[in-house]
Symmetry: C2
Subunit: 179 residues, 2 copies
């Protein structure tokens, strides 16, 4: 893993543990999922494609941005190579880029930490950090908003799960159930 | 139907027929679907909600913006009250607001005409009109982009079918199969 990527991973670890403490999550699982979340990020795309095809990961991934692949491939690899069998940790790795419907607290912590770790710099990142001081769901919503706006501006496809995840967050916030 | 809405309908009719002529669509079906596309737009929402519940229209509509309801309810009502039984025309009415996967040429014509009829004025409408001079799919993509950006800015849910429709258009354009 290149140095820059490794610094990002350490930033996500630090942020995920902070968020777990702030919002009542499991700090050990947050630490582990964050440490492993980008495990295959630097892999060649053809190696990831082979795993997606041969191990029957969701084939629709192949129709979308390659940025999404490493999350599902990473979850598969850390189970195979490192014997990680905690489904909650594996899910948090698997969905850290796209989000999903009915995200767990751990899913949200890792996904949000990935958006806002100290090394991140993109339009809207400070809004995400400010919201994360008080509300995990509203901060993550701002993260998904920035992803969707970026994809629209760049003329890229939007992964449907991200929209379902965002719709879920809006419902949770509307019903005053956000944390 | 209020005067302003009726002027909009006549604008959509005129534009839909123009687009049908330009892109090889059926001008009679375009005329009919455009004329009827907003048939229940001015109905009270509780009347639309009753039809969605009792006639088993897609229940997920109820979780999204009410702006989406009249399209499905309208298709149901014009079939019941006016005996319209052309499935292509009914689909173009049903999906004129959200779009859908694998849109037909008629779906696209009515949906695009609704975005760009002469009375429309919103950020991005001129880009849509310019593209519609040459490419139906690229113009419609610009329409969906504007809808998604609007929904993100307003903190509203995004109807998943709109994202699937947009992803389809991007694929068609990428494969050089756009019209």
């Amino acid at each position: 893993m290149p140095d820059k990527r490794w610094r990002h991973v350490l930033g996500v670890v630090e942020t995920a543990v902070e968020l777990a403490d702030r919002f009542g999550g499991d700090r050990d699982k947050a630490w582990l999922a964050a440490l492993l979340h980008d495990y295959t990020k630097a892999w060649p795309t053809d190696k990831m494609e082979t795993i997606i095809r041969e191990q029957h990961l969701p084939q629709e991934l192949l129709e979308h941005d390659k940025e999404l692949w490493h999350a599902h491939v990473g979850a598969w690899v850390v189970r195979q190579e490192h014997g990680i069998d905690d489904e909650e940790v594996l899910d948090a790795i698997r969905y850290h880029t796209s989000g999903r419907e009915r995200m767990t607290l751990l899913d949200k912590i890792v996904c949000l930490a990935d958006y806002m770790e100290p090394g991140r710099d993109f339009p809207g990142v400070n809004k995400i950090r400010e919201r994360a001081q008080h509300n995990l769901d509203e901060a993550l919503l701002a993260g998904f908003d920035s992803t969707i706006q970026f994809l629209v501006e760049k003329g890229k496809t939007i992964f449907p799960l991200t929209v379902l995840a965002r719709n879920d967050l809006l419902r949770i916030i509307r019903e005053n159930k956000s944390i």
